[in-house]
């Protein structure tokens, strides 16, 4: 187990370097951050040179990258171009996005698994077809459409929730944005659970469990569902990173000043330290979520052992 974790952690290193380098090159090489600072006006060459020197932009790109990473691992994420330390932005943005992601993950896991189990057990019946058609429709409606429509219906037309989230963003206000964020993944979780339940329904251990007279709920929950959850857990794990990154659209619709909002602002204004800083954390979250998922396999399926 310990050796497995260490091996996986080592494998993460090249992926981490690759992802952050890719974003770093995109942000710093494709645009000119100094020119962006001055907007439409051409900067004074001496001033531009001084800024480049201060921001370590006068070195070759790979040296900038090494310098930047060294700074990050000392806890210094640099300063956004508007003078705020990136860490300050992060300390206000991350809690919001984490709360939003928690709502979304809980929604997609609970509703998705329940719906998937329900339709998988009633394979071929009306309930099953209905759920499958519903998931297809949900997958086809892009988040920014469902977001605006639900915001309009619940927030304006029926006046059930506040259409825009307040700065404190308590969980109750994040319920609707969380559902919007989770919708597409919810459909995938439902379909995955259903397929998996249908496949395992015919497995020998399920027949054995029924044959030895276990009550139905025990067969379904402990034998069938637990064995069907592995692909679902994989999906949810890899989805955590995607949800946080995909929150750009949801946060924009509901006016939540989280990670997606900061990234969007940072990208549009070419605020490079903000963008690279937030993305670096996102990549780390994504990698760790994947590792945790692999470790969860052993809990779900005792046949899997890590050497």
């Amino acid at each position: 187990m310990g050796r497995y974790v260490i091996r996986r952690l080592l494998q993460m290193v090249p992926v981490f370097i690759g992802s952050t380098l890719l974003i770093f090159v995109m942000v710093y090489a494709l645009g000119d951050p100094v020119a962006a600072l001055f907007g439409d006006r051409a900067p004074d060459p001496a001033t531009a040179a001084q800024i480049r020197k201060d921001l370590y932009l006068d070195h070759p790109l790979w040296q900038q990258y090494v310098h930047y990473m060294a700074q990050i691992f000392q806890g210094n994420f640099g300063t956004a171009f508007d003078g705020q330390p990136v860490l300050t932005l992060m300390s206000t943005a991350w809690p919001l996005t984490i709360r939003l992601t928690i709502v979304a993950v809980v929604v997609e896991a609970v509703i998705g698994v329940v719906l998937g189990l329900f339709s998988g057990l009633r394979r071929g019946r009306t309930v099953d077809s209905g759920v499958l058609v519903l998931t297809l429709v949900v997958v086809s409606v892009p988040t920014f459409v469902s977001g605006y429509v639900l915001q309009y219906l619940f927030g304006v037309e029926w006046n059930l929730v506040n259409p825009s989230v307040s700065p404190a963003a308590p969980f109750s206000e994040l319920l609707l944005p969380g559902i919007v964020l989770a919708l597409v993944s919810l459909a995938y979780v439902t379909r995955l659970t259903r397929t998996s339940v249908v496949e395992n329904h015919r497995a020998d251990y399920v027949r054995t469990a029924i044959a030895k007279g276990l009550p139905r709920h025990r067969v379904v929950l402990r034998h069938l569902l637990r064995n069907s959850l592995i692909p679902v857990v994989t999906f949810i794990g890899t989805d955590i990173g995607a949800l946080m990154g995909g929150a750009i659209v949801t946060e924009r619709i509901f006016n939540i000043h989280g990670v997606g909002y900061q990234l969007y602002q940072g990208i549009l204004r070419q605020n490079s330290p903000t963008v690279v800083g937030f993305v670096t954390i996102l990549v780390i979250v994504f990698l760790i979520a994947n590792l945790l998922v692999d470790l969860l396999y052993a809990v779900l399926d005792p046949r899997i052992r890590y050497a």
Binding site: S129, Y152, L263
Partner: protein, 332 residues
Amino acid sequence: MPEPSSAQDPAESVGNAGAGGTMDFAAEQAGSLTAPPPGEHLVPEGGTTTGKPRSLWSDAWHDLRRNPVFVVSALVIVFLVLISIWPKLIASGNPLACDINKSQDGPAPGHPFGFDLQGCDVYTRTVYGARASVTVGVCATAGAAILGSVLGGLAGFFGGWWDAVLSRISDVFFGIPIVLGGLVFLSVVTNTTVWPVIGFIVLLGWPQIARIARGAVMTAKQHDYVQAARALGAGNTRILLRHIAPNAVAPVIVVATIALGTYIALEATLSFLGVGLKPPTVSWGIDISTASTEIRDAPHMLLWPAGALSVTVLAFIMLGDAVRDALDPKLR
């Protein structure tokens, strides 16, 4: 399931039993999506088959033609392709001819969907918007599928260091959320054509296809007919093209069809965020973005392009679903 009559020769009866079993299962699969007419799977097989067993492809085609999901989505897609090539077929107006006096007006004679913020005809713009979406979807999918299956296929076939490098590279791409990557990459592009968007989607989309192609080639490589071909002296090129490619292409086609739908949604999302397609290109994403701020006053501005976008994405995803049900060997 009717058994073939005893008068037929044994080879045919084997072929028919196989095909019949398949049909039965496919009907069940189709039934899980939309209930087939009762007794559909009881159609005798003997009349439609020739003497020899059907190949995977003709078998799949046989199933697909009877699958209502496939027929409906294929018709929608043919219609979309037609209007994206010749929008004048159903819309005679000019999508860029706008009258600001009619801003946000509701439906009027000759303008069934009403007018948008600039006073442009929403119906005409919705019809013309198909072109951008279909172009981006088709080109990006073709690019990602070709690049992904060549790189992934070679990695699966030869293995070794190239395989290891490719796996790490796709890990890197998987680590970057796609909307985020699109924002970063496209925000610095000033070109207003569809090509930067297509290029970006290919760049971030190929690893997914490569992974599927790699797995499919690795499975096909194990089969006896590949060993047989090698024993008969066939070279790598011949084995890859004649024996492995035809047997590994099915999963790639399935994933690519479903990806096409998601790429169209992705293009609209990027256009919505202001970094994808840009005016004067007519795109559903741009129109939805403009309409989103006016949803309280003029919901029709949002609903028509959003509906068209959703139906398009749905059609491609359903097509991919139906093709998967017909091709997936696990379901046979």
